[in-house]
Assembly symmetry: D2
């Protein structure tokens, strides 16, 4: 049994606790911190938490708490982490790690200096679909990865602090882009260096200072491209889709709006209130088990199993730092309209990877460009002469 202090009693703190104490879990939240007494008390009552407080340090220092789970607004992550270092408590921080890579790097270095377990709670690389897709990619089902796109768009976040630039540190790039960047990076290879970023961002709809819509391209050292599409202006629910292209295959994942459950309702049936969707009549697409589909269960399983075995979890502060560094480049690019280099003071992956060689030889004199079956059932080849570069067609009966 692991005993957790939950910092934050809002939307994400509740989601985490539903997962942590879900199924037949042996783990337990023993203390909860909230900025307001009312919310702390309600949370403690709802989840049978024996201790609550509005004092951050008190929750972290709580003698029964083995692991500190940080589910606070972005601007409070660093303070919480530093207190965990002080009390030598294992710590897991919600995404994004910092508001920028400077904060993230300070947290990374402090945690490593203190020698404490540090986990980065990036749930979307723990969804069951991602885990299975990732295995297929690693086993070569898609060949060499060329492009990985992740899209997260919805009509805007739930809590008010997200909309405040000071507390949040950014708009939808920081809030949603952190997911997308880590998903694409995982498919491409976490040991491949991200080198530069091009990003468009705009405030198209909302009366806010931060961006509410952005699209970015992240170029990796091996020539692969990661793409993120994020928005707080999407209409239709929570759109969570990934696509991966490789030389030998393709993956498409729809993690929310189209998972195989479809309902039409006229709305005339009594007492029905649909949850989370933008509408509650017409065709709806409920998700069976959101906690599981969104990766929370597998994420905490990895975190806690790793903690018990004194191993590193799949996602650490180091990963959170890399993501922040990529997003920093995205923000600079959105401002100055240039491809911006990713600045990485800390890098633990490969160096100097070059673009893969990829010519397919047909015979001594030709490369194979394409092979296809024609309407008439014959096999058609398109070839390129190695020396002259001339393209030719060849039909095999």
């Amino acid at each position: 049994m692991i005993r957790i202090a939950m910092l934050g009693s809002g939307f994400i703190g509740r989601f985490y606790t539903d997962s942590l104490q879900g199924y037949r879990s042996r783990d337990k939240v023993v203390s909860v911190y909230s900025r307001t007494e009312k919310s702390a008390k309600k949370f403690a009552a709802d989840y049978y938490v024996p201790h609550w407080t509005t004092n951050l340090e008190e929750a972290i220092a709580h003698p029964e708490a083995d692991v500190i789970c940080v589910a606070l607004p972005n601007n409070l992550h660093e303070e919480a982490v530093m207190l965990c270092c002080k009390y030598k408590k294992a710590v897991m921080v919600t995404k994004p790690l910092g508001r920028n890579s400077v904060e993230a790097k300070r947290m990374l270095e402090a945690a490593e200096d203190a020698g404490i377990f540090n986990g980065y709670l990036e749930d979307l690389v723990y969804t069951p679909k991602f885990l299975k897709a990732y295995d297929s990619v690693k086993n070569g089902a898609l060949g060499r990865i060329l492009w990985a796109k992740s899209r997260e768009t919805h009509p805007g976040p739930h809590s008010e602090w997200f909309w405040d630039l000071e507390q949040a540190g950014g708009g939808c790039i920081l809030d949603l882009g952190c997911h997308c960047v880590e998903i694409a990076r995982s498919y491409i290879g976490k040991d491949i260096k991200p080198v530069e970023v091009m990003c468009w961002a705009d405030t198209q709809v909302k009366p806010i200072d931060a961006e509410d819509h952005a699209i970015g391209l992240v170029k990796y050292e091996n020539g692969s491209i990661g793409q993120f599409e994020v928005s707080w202006t999407f209409r239709g629910g929570l759109d969570l889709r990934d696509e991966v292209m490789g030389t030998e295959g393709t993956i498409w994942i729809n993690s929310f709006l189209r998972t195989g459950f479809e309902m039409f309702t006229t709305g005339k049936g009594a007492d029905y209130v649909s949850e989370k969707a933008e509408s509650n009549t017409g065709w709806l697409f409920p998700v069976g088990d959101e906690l599981n589909e969104l990766g929370y269960n597998h994420m905490f399983m990895d975190m806690f199993n790793s903690y018990e075995k004194s191993q590193q979890p799949k996602e650490t502060f180091y990963d959170g730092y890399i993501v922040n560094a990529i997003l920093d480049a995205a923000y600079r690019s959105a401002k100055n309209k240039l491809w911006e280099p990713v600045t990485l003071d800390v890098w633990r992956g490969k160096e100097g990877v070059s673009k893969d060689q990829h010519l397919t030889e047909y015979d001594n004199e030709h490369y194979l460009v394409k092979e296809e079956v024609t309407h008439y059932g014959a096999k058609k080849l398109i070839l390129k002469n190695k020396s002259t570069g001339k393209i030719s067609e060849k039909t095999l009966e």
Copy 2:
């Protein structure tokens, strides 16, 4: 912590144990029984089970086992249950409960006489999608339920005993129909009496004595229809789909082949072996988390929570008995080509429910037949005169 003795070390015993000991579970399998020593030993090693045996009674009587989980071929269910009664152990039995309703009734009565906890492991009414859909239905989103169809078809079961009529007690009707019948019955209402069954069955492909394809209609006392479509001859994977029609809405659920994960692979990538699908190249549709999608996690959570609280779980031997009684009628119908009454010696639901009244009044003289918006944007009504029965059309501008 609940300590389980697992009877059976085959496909389903392993699936159950993956779920029971999955995530951060506090529960543990403490003994395993198998018909062969080799299989028992391998299971014990794979799942860290401290005790194994090839003696059924020894596993059930094991002093540390609180709950007995029966994952044996159909012909061994009754013997196992009777031993659980003898040792007063809580018992959970995989589907179908018996090979027929006579066996099922004996198990039901023995378990209730012995006063032991009895659970019926019908996982497909515990899938996350079912649970959410069921809530919507109960909350009225679909209005009055008219029809519920459940389809389970695949290219045939894994273990050899399924293909043997004596051990299995039937073919795909018993193996798969039990799921479908309970799903439809749940949507229609478990307190509504099933009254008669019409079933077609045939052995179209496989060299076996049992049926490998069947379609059945189950009529309920309130006029609703449950439908099952089952086969061991389907090509394309595991097809698991439900449909529900109500006066105010519709539900479609695809629990396996289309859950939002799509992969294309040429198969040229090294080392890739796809699991469970019929092919491992071309377009594939992997399921992220089979254990969860198939309902095992939520099923055992209900079972064990109920056990700890000394409550009845959602599915008991009583439900298993009702399902067996419906399937008995299906087998009789397939043989004699008549609508066959469902014989229920034990019935704990409503009696004498009549078909719902369902006329929608338009005005004093007319019933409303249909209302629609025309191409021209006008509202068109089709009405029926209450006394003459005459149909007329009326357009509202």
Copy 3:
């Protein structure tokens, strides 16, 4: 150029004319008959038809009309056909051919005696998806066909005469079942004799005398099963789906509600009226080109090309008669709850087809029951001893 007299100016007459005069068609409607002058005039104006009349015989006898297209309520088909025989005009009749097989047979015999071109306007075996799927089936992509299901359900027909039992001759079985029966029959083989029918039907929702929901099974001489699911009570739009199972493959077709076009709208945008769907906010699934998706274009192309070449079209009165005979058996079955024989006074297909032999030999002593790849990558076989019938398992490394 073919010159058409259109009998009927309602929903289906308009749909037909949109198709007949669509794209860059060389054909033209030259006369229109309607039961009311107002409707005839409006139709003539909308479609630039030079001649209109409320006299049925006048339209049919019209000297410029080469082909008569019957788009009238079911109870008027026979009269129209008899007049075409009198004037020796080519005739095409909308579905169903008759209100029952007695009417259909009279029309079939009269047309053949008169030696006139006769076409049966069953559009749904001309949809582009059906045509392509049918080719695949005929080319063996699915192996031997075991089962073909067609489903057509919606919230009820547009015109008032459908709801009147005398004019329509039946409810949703006749209106929609005629489509489904011909679709399934085409996949199974139009030369294979339908032998018996089991049908459930009920009036579950609408205040009418006819059935508003029905499910039927049609058994063919070779053991294949055709299934129809029809309803006027479905909520969610027009549900038009087919499924085919063969020993080597599967086909699923969604012809309407899920064709790859998805739209979400809050409904706040000005001036938007969605057409045909049950709702006009939330997620909608428009069909790009209804005329083409529903088969009208390919149907008339076959009809007119056949007419010009003095050949039989794919669908003739004979097919309409077979369909009516199957539906007659369905109505009898729904009433008396028995499998009812299909009575065919006219039958031009094969006779005495037996169930296909289908044992797959493994070696001299065994039949192959199933072959699969285990989790461990080994190949597992399930075999049946030819003489003892014993089932065994064999694993190939």
Copy 4:
């Protein structure tokens, strides 16, 4: 009846002719030009074309040809158009209009100076799904358009000249991007000026000089973003998907790989060859009627109807020129990694459009940021103070 001279007898010439002479068409190809005699003869025989030639001018000058249809490699478009001007023949040119905007502009000016009918054969803005989606967008169903993405990727073109940079003028940007740009531009508004482009392009897989993968963003004067994703390296078939986001709604269109027709085949059935897909076993997704789904029928209907009425078709050389100008900017951007301005010597749309005002007022002091229904059924508002900019939350019971 319109009489056509078809220039080009390859893949696209055949596709065009299948459409032109399809259904019950009144139009006819009367002459065909090909670069090789063998191909010209075969085409003439297959399509019953009375005249063939290997002399370009002869085909254009053919006295019976009313309309010249240019289906030639990109580098031959200009020569063909100039000859049409010389002979004052109506001309329709396949996409892209030119290899660059300089060529396109010369063709535009020559055609307008000669006063001839000019059509730009961009079929993908004529697909039935596009036409319907476009109507919804124009009617306001999606509110103000924020972003429109079009994706076209496949495993590479059929004919050898595409792979040759001199003949083609570019790689997948020119070949596929021209479609995508015009689709997005249409949704956003063809009268809204495209101002700048950011594009990434690379040759990731093929042994060619041109790009085989590219992603681009096109910024319009009103702040809307058009996005294109194009590739010749995609595995899995032809991926043709569009997405549109507006303030009030969303559209997703899948025009090829998921159109509601799904087939699984083991491939053991005799004689089956699947067409166009990358595989012919496993799950396949055939398209019912490719000609119609890809827009050819509706495109030629608009072209020929416009020609007969002496009107401009929806797509003219002017549109082809705008597309070329955008693609030129994309190529420059891919090379120098900057947002590149779109240079338009000819512009006939609006000038000086500013970003739309889009603040939603809540009350005198606040703007509305977001409104949502909480888990508890209460309505929650997020507001922004007009003067202080402070974000606050307000819950309405």
